[in-house]
């Protein structure tokens, strides 16, 4: 008997992509995609259920279809796309709670893969140069997506405790970048004049969308339980990345940067949260050796290559 996989957040870019990839895999019988809004592009070879993971109806979907693997891609990083910070938090936190509650009740579930984020480590001057999976954050994130991710991981740990028979894989992604995806980072690097914090230069890490999807796919097919850092090899400095975009850089002292960031985010231009400002000040680098050895996959794109791939898309769209 083949496997039945449920993917949340399929109407968003990464969710849709992973659903498509899994649907093509011969070892998987059926892929069920779920989201609140219908997908913009047609999702072939899979069943789409228009449902809200915040609603208990999700338990019925899981049970009736006999789902054995849940891929939770529905953690949203961009309030602008979600329709505001309040909705985003609803979807991320309450949605994950409901989804996991439903999973706990569904005996057929054997594996859970969660897309989390490296933002759970926070960012600050007391950070070690590289984070390994077992390190605790030295500067706990207090707002936005980062805080949501911390809460989501908390629920996932709780679930893993209550259902020890389920293989739970949590993937902590660095900023995902590439030709197709739109994130706060891609918007930031597309600004004609890029603001930075004066006197600081963050160390950044990116993971190419194809590599990110490859890790999710391997997590589904191979079932490796645990928490893993996922990022492209190498590091880019923020100043260096801006030079590579060819855009202008304007450095503002920290006390001006935060109000400035807030005003442009309220103007709807870009999502600028406190956590993001901290990340752009101090940066963060992950030690990804555990994921690379466990999954047997070295990212095809290093951090600089992933960034170059994002820049290449922009040049095409300009032309």
């Amino acid at each position: 008997m083949g496997r039945i996989v449920l993917v949340t957040g399929v109407s968003r870019y990464l969710g849709g992509q992973i659903a498509r990839i899994l649907a093509k895999d011969p070892s998987i019988d059926q892929v069920i995609g779920i989201d609140v809004v219908p997908p913009k592009v047609k999702l072939s070879q899979m069943e789409f259920v228009r449902a809200d993971i915040r609603n208990p109806v999700i338990a019925k979907v899981l049970g009736e279809a006999g789902v054995d693997t849940v891929v939770h891609m529905g953690v949203i990083a961009t309030p602008r796309q979600a329709g505001g910070r309040a909705t985003m938090k609803e979807i991320n936190v309450i949605g994950t709670m409901q989804l996991l509650a439903a999973c706990q009740r569904t005996p057929s579930i054997k594996a859970l893969v969660v897309k989390s984020s490296a933002s759970v480590y926070g960012s600050g001057p007391k950070d070690p140069a590289m984070f390994t999976e077992e390190m605790q954050p030295r500067h706990t994130p207090r707002s936005g997506w980062a805080k949501d991710s911390v809460e989501v991981e908390g629920f996932v740990r709780g679930f893993a405790r209550r259902r020890p028979d389920v293989a739970v894989t949590t993937l902590r992604f660095a900023n995902i970048i590439g030709p197709g995806i739109d994130t706060a980072m891609t918007t930031y690097f597309s600004l004609p004049v890029i603001p930075t914090v004066l006197g600081f230069d963050a160390r950044l890490q990116f993971i190419h969308e194809d590599d990110g999807l490859e890790f999710v796919k391997r997590a589904v097919l191979g079932s490796y339980a645990g928490t893993f850092n996922v990022a492209g090899n190498g590091t880019l400095m923020l100043s260096q990345a801006i030079r590579r975009t060819g855009h202008k850089r304007v450095s503002l002292p920290e006390f001006l940067f935060t109000p400035f960031g807030r005003s442009i985010s309220s103007a709807g231009l870009i999502d600028f949260t406190t956590e993001q400002v901290r990340y752009l000040t101090f940066g963060r680098v992950l030690d990804t050796s555990l994921a690379q050895t466990t999954f047997g996959h070295t990212p095809m794109y290093s951090t600089p290559q992933a960034f170059a791939s994002f820049l290449a898309r922009r040049e095409v769209s300009v032309a």
Partner: protein, 303 residues
Amino acid sequence: MPNAKIIPIHGDDPIVPRLVADLEPDVMARLMEFWEFVQRRLAGDYSVDDFGFDPEFNDKILMALVRPLYKSWFRVEASGLENIPDETGALVVANHSGVIALDAVMTQLALLDEHPAHRHLRMLGSDLVFQSPFLGEIARKAGHTLACHPDAERLLGDGEIVGVWPEGYKGIGKPFAERYKLQRFGRGGFVAAALRTKTPIIPTAIVGAEETYPMIANATVVARLLGLPYFPITPTFPLLGPLGFIPLPSKWFIHFGEPIHTDQFPDNAADDPMLVFDLTDQVRERIQQTLYRLLMQRTSVFG
């Protein structure tokens, strides 16, 4: 330039302006190289390591800026460089003095310029460094990182030369009267890191840095207001304003001592606090003895 005119390659080329044509070819080549360097930097076409170390920026810009200070101002004499391995990791442990950490920068330059393998010294700094604008940014680009176990062990494990100044602020912020008296050596975390990675410890003594900014008093109230560990008062600072930043031109000696090997200890030696304390004392004692010896040999402070 008497021989400039007999170089045909430039003389025949009408596009090359006369001024450039009259230049010596090696000057020309160097200008071109510099231009390419500037272009490459502005395009972001260089690489940094996971710690944010930018070797090109460090070697070509930062170190070039402090080299005159090393060569002409302090006339640093480095010895014992044969005790630093060419390729493998080692932990340089040195005394700290002189209000601002010039001694650390000079040690870094000594290893880069005078060691046959031109080694980079990767220092472990306090979190205050990485909190401070500009300072933190430059420290990262120069290859330094936060003093914490994971970073120390990662660098040593990668075969880097790591530098620690275990006296910390107690060392650089001590009054002039206590010069060359080693302060307490923290908690010995550096010894544990060396034991875990089985890398040798190089006790290093620096003479001359104490006299650069003789600190006659510490304005504790000002320090507390500014959130600094100390606020120095020297004969010239803050009395002479910015002129007070000019260090006195003392003559410096840096001696890298014989390595203390850590590979003969068992695997869990780092978890034995007694052993860690003993080794810490041994390192401290070695540095203190070397300091006394160097001071005895020194004929004059500004020699």
